[in-house]
């Protein structure tokens, strides 16, 4: 299978705002259930071990006309909650049995309450993660939160989630994270072989597909990408940061590349590489998931950084390890986490002499010319002056 064929399939999944794949998956077996989740992180292993399909809900993108959603939000609130509401009230999520709203910010937090009111028949849970990373304090709290989520899913599914099932699911998601990282490494090594416009769609497909199917797709994509001969361009190498919740329109992802920037790292859809090391597949699975979160999860704006000297370290290390020459801060408008963090991260990059630019978008931004100009100028400045 060629990269073009794989990406065509990903594009179909991306374009389908009626979530046909998930509907079909649900209809294919009696009693099957689908559990949606919003950014950034939920332990998908628990949903999978309950025999359910985890479905990433990342807003409506630029193809969804938001009519009802705007009646729920004032103009100064970002777009992802309003397009998510639009998906809900227009019946596009009427097959979804449960919705998890993990902690990101106050807007998404409050959306969980709105969902409870608007969709009383759906299992709705605000999923909290600790901001204290001591195993005896935050770890204990988080272990109980995982237990609570497990019980909620058991009630929804009418069956117990066994440790054996959880171990199996953890193994599958370990494999998924390993493959996702492998794609990221391939792109960092040879970005002309795995352009971000493709990698993005490939990762988006993982928000919809069953993990087993996504794992096969990742393997196929890497094989195809390695085999294909693609021209290497004289682009600069950049890392994108700030796009972990509301997603940029696909045209923006493409525009940055067209402007002369290879993207060698990003924080789109962090759920698929949130845990940076494999979670053990023996022992107490909830404890293992808890430890993995405390000790091996990525740094992003919705996590507290305990020590000032560590603030921004993760970004600097990602720039170094991916070989990026500069950073593009691409944050959604009105995104408190990304925008409040930005000055601190920029200051850390400045200390390290890493160049950066900042731009803002909404998931339905349509005008790409300014983005191309800004990214192109950045690429030129790196090429010419660095």
């Amino acid at each position: 299978m060629s990269t073009a064929q794989i990406i065509e399939r990903c594009q179909e999944l991306f374009d389908d705002l009626n979530f046909g794949y998930a509907r079909e998956w649900k209809a294919a077996g009696e009693g099957r259930k689908v559990v949606g989740f919003t950014p950034v992180y939920v332990p998908r292993e628990l949903i999978h071990a309950a025999g359910m399909l985890p479905l990433g809900i990342l807003g409506g993108g630029d193809q969804l006309e938001v009519i009802h959603g705007d009646a729920y939000y004032q103009s100064y609130i970002c777009r992802i909650p309003r397009s998510t509401v639009e998906l809900g009230v227009t019946g596009r999520l009427d097959f979804v049995d449960g919705m998890l709203f993990p902690f990101v910010c106050d807007v998404m937090r409050n959306l969980s309450g709105m969902w409870k009111i608007n969709f009383p028949g759906v299992y709705v849970h605000f999923f909290d993660t600790p901001q204290n990373f001591d195993p005896e304090i935050g770890g204990r709290y988080y272990r109980h939160e995982l237990e609570e989520l497990k019980e909620g899913l058991e009630q929804l599914g009418g069956r117990e989630i066994t440790d054996a099932a959880l171990h199996e699911s953890i193994a599958l998601y370990n494999e998924n994270r390993r493959l996702v990282r492998a794609v990221y490494e391939l792109r960092a090594r040879e970005p002309w072989k795995a352009p971000t416009s493709e990698v993005y769609l490939l990762m988006r497909a993982g928000m919809t597909l069953a993990v087993e199917e996504h794992n096969r797709m990742l393997v196929d994509y890497m094989a195809a990408a390695q085999a294909e001969d693609r021209p290497r361009r004289d682009n600069c190498r950049t890392a994108i940061t700030g796009s972990f919740c509301e997603q940029p329109p696909l045209n923006l992802v493409k525009a940055i590349e067209i402007a002369g920037c290879y993207v060698v790292d990003d924080d789109y859809m962090l759920v698929n590489r949130w845990l940076m090391e494999a979670v053990p597949t023996d022992g107490d699975p909830l404890e293992n998931l808890s430890r993995a979160f405390l000790e091996h999860s990525v740094e992003t704006s919705c996590k507290y950084v305990e020590r000032e000297q560590d603030k921004g370290r993760f970004l600097v290390e990602s720039v170094r390890s991916s070989g990026a020459e500069g950073v593009i801060f691409a944050a959604p408008s009105f995104c408190d986490p990304a925008l409040l963090d930005q000055p601190m991260l920029q200051s850390r990059l400045a200390e390290e002499n890493i160049p950066y630019i900042a731009l803002q978008y909404a998931e339905n931004s349509g005008q790409m010319q300014p983005i191309r100009e800004q990214a192109g100028t950045f690429a030129d400045s790196i090429k010419l002056w660095e």
Partner: protein, 433 residues
């Protein structure tokens, strides 16, 4: 030409007392070089004043400094200074006002510079921005920071797991850090005494707030309420001063009740109460008096508000409990208004509209505050549906003068009051048909 005579503002004893308390606190904060007491910065919701007092620490609240700067019309320049330094136009103006104040010399309302904090007590309750705010301050001050993560009651309940988590953080993180910084050993009996004192003041505060149920209401529970919550939400809860303030306030309100008077406003006693309103959301501080005037000039009195609950849901029964000191502090933090989920907040509003016999709910939606604002349009519709009372919606900001459009706000308020009139006429017509 001589200036027109301004009517003399008559200050009640409680007002004088509060002014004196605030001035004294700012004097203490700005003279640490002389007395050597340590300073903690912390937030209003989930404010652990009694605990800080156990370590002889002073409590500096950046939200209150932003409010002071807003009321003095100084916040606009500070916000722009922060934006020039790279902070986004889209984010909280409390934060930018605070950072801008630093950039402009960090001057307290008494004209003297604030000291650098010895510790940032990040009581992370009900507002995401708090976490980033203190990361930003830590970035500037490079001082110790201790985080108290208070879980959001997303499913409408406070679980044992949440409470235990907060208590454990208090015991194992917050208290040891404060001991280390202050050099004072923690004494739980000292904490019990402060909590006992807090509960006394809390009883009187609730009594005052609940007089809004009376007709006429002797208080304005939003604009006046901002002053009433001042001592208890800030650096004074747990002190005899706060108890005394609420005793005086209660006496004054008792007197107003006995005399059948409405609330006192900047222009004197409010003579007529045509509309009884429940308000959701914080006020605007840069045009606080103008905003208030738009209400009392049209005969609108606020009988209950949610803003007066951001620092604790005392009217729903919470009291600091000296017998369970740390658990009580945990429950206090977990119960702050914005730490409750939307369905709980809607239930509270419905209760206020009904119990306070209000004509409707008005939302002042604050651009800066997603914790309050995200979801308010749904809240409005739900309350209209459940109570049959009309809802109104205005948009302003906390301390950014660019987002207070007086003509627009006045226009919307007048339309809202007309809507209430119309609704009444409809009811009257139906009743007499």
């Amino acid at each position: 030409m001589s200036a027109p005579n301004k009517p003399e503002v008559v200050k009640d004893a409680s007002m004088v007392k509060q002014k004196e308390m605030i001035a004294r606190n700012y004097d203490l904060l700005t003279s640490t070089a002389e007395h050597g007491r340590k300073v903690s910065s912390t937030f209003v919701p989930g404010n652990l004043n009694e605990l800080l007092m156990c370590f002889d620490m002073l409590n500096n609240l950046p939200e209150i400094n932003a409010i002071q700067n807003g009321m003095r019309k100084a916040s606009g320049g500070m916000i722009m200074a922060a934006e020039k330094a790279g902070h986004s136009e889209d984010v909280c103006t409390y934060v930018k006002s605070d950072l801008g104040m630093m950039a402009k010399g960090n001057i307290a309302p008494n004209g003297k510079p604030f000291p650098e904090p010895d510790v940032l007590l990040l009581s992370y309750t009900g507002c995401y921005t708090f976490m980033k705010w203190f990361e930003l301050l830590r970035h500037e001050y490079k001082c110790p920071t201790v985080m108290l993560h208070v879980p959001y009651a997303g499913d409408g309940v406070v679980t044992d797991n949440m409470r235990n988590y907060v208590v454990k953080q208090l015991k194992e993180k917050v208290i040891p850090t404060l001991e280390e910084i202050s050099g004072v050993r923690f004494d739980i009996d000292r904490l019990r005494e402060y909590l006992r004192e807090s509960a006394r003041a809390e009883d009187d505060l609730v009594w005052v707030l609940e007089t809004g149920k009376r007709t006429p209401s002797p208080i304005d529970a939003y604009f006046g309420g901002v002053y009433y919550i001042g001592p208890i939400f800030t650096a004074f809860r747990g002190t005899p001063d706060a108890t005394e303030y609420y005793r005086l306030l209660r006496q004054e309100i008792e007197q107003r009740v006995a005399q059948g008077k409405g609330p006192v406003t900047p222009d004197g006693d409010m003579p007529e109460q045509k509309y009884r309103i429940v308000v959701e959301g914080p006020p605007n501080y840069t045009s606080f008096r103008d905003f208030w005037k738009m209400f009392y000039e049209d005969g609108a009195v606020v009988v209950a508000s949610t803003y007066t609950k951001v620092g604790g849901l005392y009217d729903f029964g919470f009291r600091h409990d000296p017998d369970n000191p740390l658990e009580s502090l945990a429950d206090y933090c977990l119960g702050c208004y914005t730490n409750n989920n939307l369905p709980t907040r809607i239930d509270m509003l419905e209760k206020y509209v009904n119990d306070y016999d209000a004509d409707g709910l008005l939302i002042n939606s604050i651009k800066s505050c997603n914790s309050f604002s995200a979801g308010q349009l749904l809240m409005l519709r739900e309350i209209e549906k459940r109570t049959g009372k009309p809802g109104g919606f205005v948009e302003t900001d906390l301390v950014d003068p660019r987002y207070f459009s007086a003509a627009n706000v006045k226009n919307r308020l007048e339309s809202y009051f007309q809507m209430i009139d119309q609704k009444r006429r409809g009811h009257h017509a139906a009743a007499t048909a």
